[in-house]
Structure formats: structure tokens, C-alpha cells
Homo-oligomer: 154 residues x 4
């Protein structure tokens, strides 16, 4: 029987366990080496989790006292809703805990937070090639055909 997974808001004391997961997540998206995420951004994002003026939040999944997954989400306005929508921006499971329901538990944790906040929509982006992720996402959400365009107009 797999060890139970607890999903809970991140605490400041989780930093040492959260950090390697965050680094692993960024490595997955190629933000490594010369294009690594600057330390100042990690520091700023971490502080925002605890800042009540910033609607940026983190949940962690813990199993047997160890942090094995993370998700970061934030709320923002939408022009077609009165309530905020919830953007699940980051999701990562420790490689040695893949396939044990950590990702699903984290997504459901965000759903629970969104419900409590009166938010009617949770969404996220993934790369079309992320087949492992999509196998899970197709079970808990829908890809309705929307795709993302972006530009860095500096």
C-alpha cells in the first residue's frame, strides 16, 4: 500500500525541501545553465507565497514527512467572470515519487482551494509534447483546443 500523501500550504520551514523540487521543475523546462532562473526571482517568488498582498500561493505534497511535490498557483481577474480565475502555473513531483498519485493530489488540492475561494475556473498550460503530464491532465481537466501565443516585446 503506498504511503498516504498529504497536500498542504507551504510553510517557511519547507524551504530546504521545496528548493530542489523547484530547481528540478525549472530544469525540466530548460531554465538551466546560462538560462537558469535568476536567484532574485526565486527569492521574490518564495516571499510572495507568504505575502497577503500577493495572490500567489504554493501547496506541497508530503509523504512520510518528506516533501515530494509542489504546485504554485495564483488568482487573477478575467473579463468574463466576476470571480477571479485560478492559474495553476507550476506542478512538479520528485522523480522517485512519480506514478504514485502525487500530481493528481496536488491538482485536486488546488481545486479545493479554488472552490473555497469561490473561483469557478482553474487552468494551466503544458507543452503539447508533455505526454506523461497530459495522461494525467486528460483525466482531471480538459484541453478544449485553446493554444497559447506569446511575445516578449522588449
Amino acid at each position: 500500500m503506498p504511503a498516504p500523501i498529504e497536500v498542504r500550504p507551504v510553510l517557511r520551514t519547507d524551504y530546504d525541501q521545496w528548493r530542489p523540487l523547484w530547481d528540478g521543475y525549472n530544469a525540466f523546462y530548460g531554465r538551466l545553465g546560462e538560462t537558469a532562473l535568476p536567484e532574485s526571482i526565486t527569492a521574490s517568488t518564495w516571499e510572495r507565497f507568504f505575502n497577503p498582498v500577493e495572490p500567489v500561493f504554493a501547496l506541497v505534497a508530503s509523504s512520510q514527512g518528506k516533501v515530494v511535490g509542489l504546485t504554485h498557483y495564483l488568482f487573477h481577474r478575467s473579463t468574463t467572470k466576476i470571480e477571479p480565475v485560478c492559474y495553476l502555473q507550476d506542478l512538479f513531483t520528485s522523480p522517485e515519487h512519480r506514478g504514485s498519485g502525487v500530481g493528481r493530489a496536488l491538482i485536486q488540492g488546488v481545486y479545493a482551494q479554488a472552490r473555497e475561494a469561490g473561483t469557478k475556473r482553474v487552468y494551466w498550460q503544458t507543452h503539447t509534447s508533455n505526454s506523461a503530464g497530459r495522461a494525467l491532465y486528460d483525466k482531471v481537466a480538459k484541453h478544449l483546443g485553446f493554444i497559447v501565443y506569446s511575445c516578449d516585446p522588449v
Copy 2:
């Protein structure tokens, strides 16, 4: 020579011209009839354009004194940026002014606002089947393979 297009922030006095464009945009996405956008949402969104606590904004394109297009955008946090990112949520051109550069001018108007705000990323979603829109978007931005999953976990 086509009439020049001016892109500028929406004014309260634009309401009567903005409204049919907003209704046309929602019709395009099928928010009509029984699934029409509730009037209370339109009223709330309109007020947010003028509310300094709400980072929700609208630009309109005007040509010969007539409002011929709209774009609504908002800024929200990102976990991988210190600066906010800019989500261009809505874009619509009056059917009789299609193909005259209105959409492009509106997108560039959002880029200019984003630059002034110190924002490094502008993004939007579109349906994969929106070939007319994508013909333009492929010229001013990139689809890097990211797709959207969503769920309404009520």
C-alpha cells in the same frame, strides 16, 4: 489609402460603441442565447477598466471617429518573473473593418503598454481552429507549443 487607426485607452464615453463589439466578440465564442454572458459580468468588467485597484484594462481602435476594435488585457503575477506578465484576454475587430490592420494595431498597442509597465511577457490564448486570427498572430508572436487545460471544479 486606408483611414488611419488610432489606438487609445477606453473612455467611459465609449460605452455605446464598445458594447456592440463586446457582444460580437462573445457571439464569436458562442456565449449567446441561453449561455450569453450575464449582464452583471459585463457591468463588472466595464467598471474594472476604470478602477485603479483592478489591473484590468481596455484599449479601443478608432478610425474616423468610430470605435472599430477592442482589446482587453490584464496584468498578473508569474512565478518565473519579478515583473507582472500581461494577459491579452480579448481582441475583436468590427466585421466591416477586418483586414485593415485593426487587430495588429491593437496588439501593438498592448505591447506598448506592457513595455511602459516594465512587463516582459505578453500572451494570449486562441482556439486552434481560429485560422484568420492565427494568420495575424503568427506574424506578431509565437506559438511555442503550449496548450491550455482547464476545469471548472465547482
Copy 3:
């Protein structure tokens, strides 16, 4: 020995007990009768307590399972701080529980929330004639000589 006072974030299920305290507080400030606070404002404020996009919060004091006091606070920017400041806007104790430490416990509850949020300043306003309140405030904070000017420039 007085019953212990627990201070905790408000829950949606507290509404029926929170409401008479809120009405009592507004009566104290003369927002009664023709000048009563409109119901739409109470409804909006209540919803904001549970909306993660809104940095508006409520704590209640409970004693023997009964809600006996409330405090509402919010965080906002300051030009002389990087961190937000905390504005304790409302504080009210049920008349039959005055003098038993409820007000002090609520203020200290806000201090604890502010500390956790990394906020360095908590402040509030009171009327200069509120001698009962000021007897407590002089013990837990300071009046440094600042006074408030206001205008409703409609």
C-alpha cells in the same frame, strides 16, 4: 477564572454570529437608520474575506463556542516600506464580554498575522473621544500625534 478566548480566521459558517457584532460596530459609529450601511456593502465585504485576490481579512474571538468579537484588517502598500502595511480597520467586542481581554486578544491576533506576513507596521484609527478603546490602545500601540483629514470629493 474567565473562559479562554480563541482568536481565529472567520469561517463562512460564522456568518450568523458575526453579523450582529458587525451591526453593533456600525451602530457605535452612528451608521444606523437612514445612514445605515447598505446591505450590498456588508455582502461585498463578507465575500472579500474569502476572496484570495482581496487582501481583506477577518478574525473572530470565540469563547465557549460563541463568537464574542471581531476584527477586520487589510494590507496595503506604503511609499516608505517595501512590505505592505496592515490597517486594522474594525474592532468590536460583544457588549456582554467587555473587559475580559477580547479586544486585546484580537489586536494581538492581527499582530501575529502581520508578523507572519512580513509586515512591519500595524495601524488603526479611533475617534479621539473613544476613551474606553484608547485605554486599551495606549497599552498595545502608540498615538504619535498623527491625525486624520478626509474628504469625499464627489
Copy 4:
């Protein structure tokens, strides 16, 4: 006849003229020498003026092309309003331009911004001993007897 005073939103290009006024304002409140406002706070506040996610704003008064006064204001929630309230946090006139209506013009500039934003209340704090400031404030606003308590509960 005195030179006309123009009140307008601050621009990035105003920095060199805004800065000595901001330093003068802080000197007035004794934030000098060892207790000077850290440079990082000035940098952060300046950036917030141009950040659409931050409801922190600045107006400057200019006369004959020279910046002669500043005001910084922000909007925040209130539990007794649906609309945000406007906190005019800072106001300063260049010493050589005192008595020529700069302060009044800046306050009225904030009133105009507040009205446009649908805000019904503008307020500020001053020290009870600031008799020069209060001579003006008594003409454009009211002190209704409210005083400020504060605590830095670190």
C-alpha cells in the same frame, strides 16, 4: 501674477527633479542620517508608480517647466465601501514655492483622480503640530476627530 501650476502624473523622465523633493519630504519627517529611508525603498516606490499591478501613484506639480511639488497616493480596500478609498500618503512643495497654491493644486489633482476612479473617500494623515499644513487642510478637507495608533510588532 504667479506662474500657472500644472498637475500631472509623474513620468520616468521626472526622476532627477522628483528625487530632491522626495528627499526633502523625508527630511521633514526626520527620516535622515542614520534613520534615512533606505535607497532600496525609494527605488521600489519609484518603480511602483509605473507598475500597473500596483495601485500606487504619483502626481507632480510643475511650474515654468520645473517640478515644484509632489504627491503620492494609493488606493486600498475599505470594509465600509464597495469602491476603494484613496490614501494620499505624501505631499511636498519645494520650499521656494510655498504659499503659491502648489499644495492645494496637488490635493485637488488627487481629488480629480479619485473621482475619475469612482472613489468616494480621500484621506491623509498629518502630525497635529504641522500648523502650516493644517491651515491648508482645514480648507480642503475635514479633521473629524480621528487619530492614529500604530505599532511595529516585529
